[in-house]
Amino acid sequence: MKAAHYWHCFVGIQTREWLRFWQQRTRFASALVRPLLWLVVFAAGFRAVLGISIIPPYETYITYETYIAPGLCGMIILFNSMQGALSMVYDRELGSMRVLLMSPLPRPFLLVTKLLAMGVVSIGQVYVFLLLALLVDVEPPLWGYLAVLPALILTSLMLGALGLLIATWIKQLENFAGVMNFVIFPMFFMSSALYPLWRMNEASPWLYWICQFNPFTHAVEAIRFSLYLEWNPMAYGITGGVTVVLALLATAGFRPQRTKILGTSKPA
C-alpha cells in the first residue's frame, strides 16, 4: 500500500466530515450556545466566588470567566466527541461505516483518521468560542492561540477515542442519553474545568482525587497552560498516555458487525 493511498483515504474521510459539517451548519452554531451560556451567564454569577489564590499558569488574579474558558474549550470537544460517537452508531445502523471499513487500509488508520476529522470540526468551534470570549475580556496572549493547538488536537483525539470505545458498546441511538448522564456530565463536573483543584480539595478530598484521576482534568490543564504559553508536561503526558490506551482499546474492539439494523439485537 503506497503513501498516496493513505493520503487519498485521509482526504476522503476529512472531506466527508466537512461535508457533513457543512450540511449541519446550524449545529455548529448551536453547539456554541452552550459554552457561551456558561461563560456569560454562569460565570457572571460566580465572579466573586472563586476566592483568592494565584495558581499557575496565571501570574495574577483572574476573573472567573478567564478561569473557566479553557474548561469550556474542553467542554466543546467533549460534547462533539460524544456526538461523534453517536454519529458512528448512526453510520453503523445505516451501514456507511461498513463501507468505510471495507477499505483495504488498516482499520486503526481509518478510525484515527475519522477521529482527526471529527476533531478538526471541534477545534474550529473552539477557536470561534475563544474569539467570542474576547468580548468578556478573556484575553490570552496572542501566541497562546497557536500554542494551544497541539493540546486541542490531543484532547479531541483522546475524547474521540473514548467516544469510539463507547460507540462499540452502545447498541442503539437512544442510549445517548445514558452517555450524557454517565460520561459527559461526570467528566465535566468532576474536573478542573469549573473549579481549581485546590478548591475541590477544600470541599472534599475524595472529590479532589476523583478529579485528579479524571483524564479530562489533565486535558483541560494542557489547554489552559498552553493557552497561556506555559508548558505542563504532566498534563500532556497523562492526556497523551490515555489517548494511546483508549485508541488501542477502541480500534481493537471496534466491530461494525456487532449491532444490527432495526432491532435485531444478535451480533452477526
Binding site: A44, R47, I52, E59, T60, Y61
Partner: protein, 324 residues
C-alpha cells in the same frame, strides 16, 4: 577588523564594570516587621530587610539616598540608608505614626499621629520637633504640595482635610469631605489635590488655588458589593492623563481619566488593595494588596495587570526608587 575587536572588547569591559542596575521597589510589610525589596526588571523579591514594629508609611528622601519608615508600634520613624540597605537612624515621630510626607526642602517631615490628634513636624537633619499642630480626630493621610506651600492632613473621624501653611505651621482651612478620608495626592503642578474617603466611597477633587472642592467621584465595581468599594491610595501620572485609585477590599484599582474624572476601567488585583506607586518611566504601577500579601503590577500601556508578586504579610506601602 582590529577596531571591531577592540570595540567589542571595550563594550564587554564597560558591560562588566557597570552592570545594568535594575530599579527596585520597597514594600512595607505591616505584620512581618520587614521591607520587601522587589527587582522591577525580574519582578521578584530580591531581599527582605528587618525593620521596626508595624511598618506602614514609607517614603524616599528627595535626593533618593534614604528611605523613611513609619514604625507605628515603635512610635518612631526609621531611616534606611539605600546604599547599604541598613537602618542608620531614627527620628522622633510622636505616637503611632502611620502616614507622613516630606517637604520639597528635604528637611521637614510631616507626620500624622493618629492617637493624639496632632501632626508632628520634624526636622530630619537636626531631629528637632519643629511643631505639633492640633488637627481633627484620628489624623491619617498626609501630603505636602510639590511647590512646598501646603501640607494637608486628613482626619478620619472628623472627615476633614486640614490645610496647613508650611511657613506658619498653622491650619488655614478645613474642608469637609466624605467619611474617613485616608489619602491625599497632589498634581505635579500643585494646582489640584485628590483626596480619598474610605467609608464614603468617594474621591474629592480640590482646586488648590481657591481651596474648594470642584468635583466628587464615586465608584461602582461590577459584581462587587458597594460596601466593599473603599478608596484609599491614589497615584497620578506626571502628564496629568491618568489617576489610579486603590479601592481597598473591592480588590480593584480604578483607572480614571484625570481630566474628565471619568472611570475608564476597573482592574482586578489582590485582596484589600492599599497603596500605589509608579515606576520611573511611568510604564508600570505597583499596588500593595494587604490581605492577600502580594504586590500586583499593572502595565500602563494596555492597562492590564500582568503579575502579582508574593511579599510579606499585610503589605502596606510601596515606593519605587527611580535612581537605582
Amino acid at each position: 577588523m582590529k577596531t571591531l575587536f577592540k570595540r567589542t572588547a571595550l563594550a564587554a569591559m564597560i558591560g562588566l564594570s557597570t552592570p545594568a542596575l535594575a530599579s527596585v521597589a520597597y514594600v512595607s510589610n505591616e505584620k512581618d516587621n520587614t521591607l520587601s525589596v522587589i527587582d522591577t526588571e525580574t519582578q521578584k523579591v530580591i531581599e527582605t530587610i528587618d525593620v521596626g514594629q508595624r511598618p506602614r508609611g514609607i517614603l524616599l528622601s528627595k535626593d533618593y539616598t534614604k528611605l523613611y519608615i513609619c514604625a507605628s508600634d515603635d512610635d518612631t520613624v526609621q531611616v534606611l540608608d539605600l546604599a547599604t540597605r541598613k537602618i542608620v537612624d531614627t527620628l522622633p515621630s510622636g505616637e503611632d505614626p502611620e502616614q507622613f510626607a516630606l517637604h520639597p526642602n528635604n528637611k521637614h517631615l510631616y507626620i500624622a499621629n493618629e492617637d493624639d490628634a496632632i501632626v508632628t513636624v520634624v526636622d530630619v537633619d537636626s531631629k528637632e520637633v519643629l511643631a505639633q499642630i492640633d488637627v481633627g480626630i484620628e489624623p491619617e493621610g498626609m501630603a505636602v504640595s510639590p511647590n512646598g506651600k501646603w501640607a494637608v492632613n486628613t482626619s478620619e473621624t472628623t472627615s476633614m482635610l486640614h490645610w496647613i501653611n508650611t511657613e506658619t505651621f498653622e491650619i488655614e482651612k478645613n474642608i469637609v469631605v466624605g467619611q474617613r478620608p485616608r489619602h491625599v495626592e497632589f498634581s505635579r503642578d500643585s494646582k489640584i489635590a485628590w483626596a480619598s474617603a474610605e467609608i464614603g466611597g468617594t474621591v474629592h477633587i480640590i482646586d488648590v488655588d481657591n481651596l474648594e472642592q470642584i468635583h466628587e467621584m464615586s465608584f461602582k465595581v461590577p459584581g462587587v458589593n458597594q460596601d466593599r468599594v473603599q478608596p484609599v491610595g491614589i497615584e497620578l501620572t506626571s502628564d496629568g492623563k491618568y489617576a489610579f485609585v486603590a479601592l481597598g477590599p473591592s480588590n480593584h484599582v480604578a483607572v480614571v481619566d484625570a481630566k474628565t474624572y471619568e472611570v475608564l476601567d476597573y482592574l482586578l488585583v489582590g485582596a484589600r488593595v492599599w497603596q500605589l506607586d509608579l515606576d520611573k518611566d511611568e510604564t508600570h504601577l505597583y499596588t500593595t494588596n494587604g490581605v492577600s500579601g502580594d504586590v500586583s503590577v499593572i502595565n500602563l500601556e494596555d492597562m492590564k495587570v500582568i503579575k502579582s508578586i508574593k511579599v510579606g504579610r499585610y503589605p502596606w506601602g510601596v515606593v519605587i526608587d527611580p535612581t537605582s
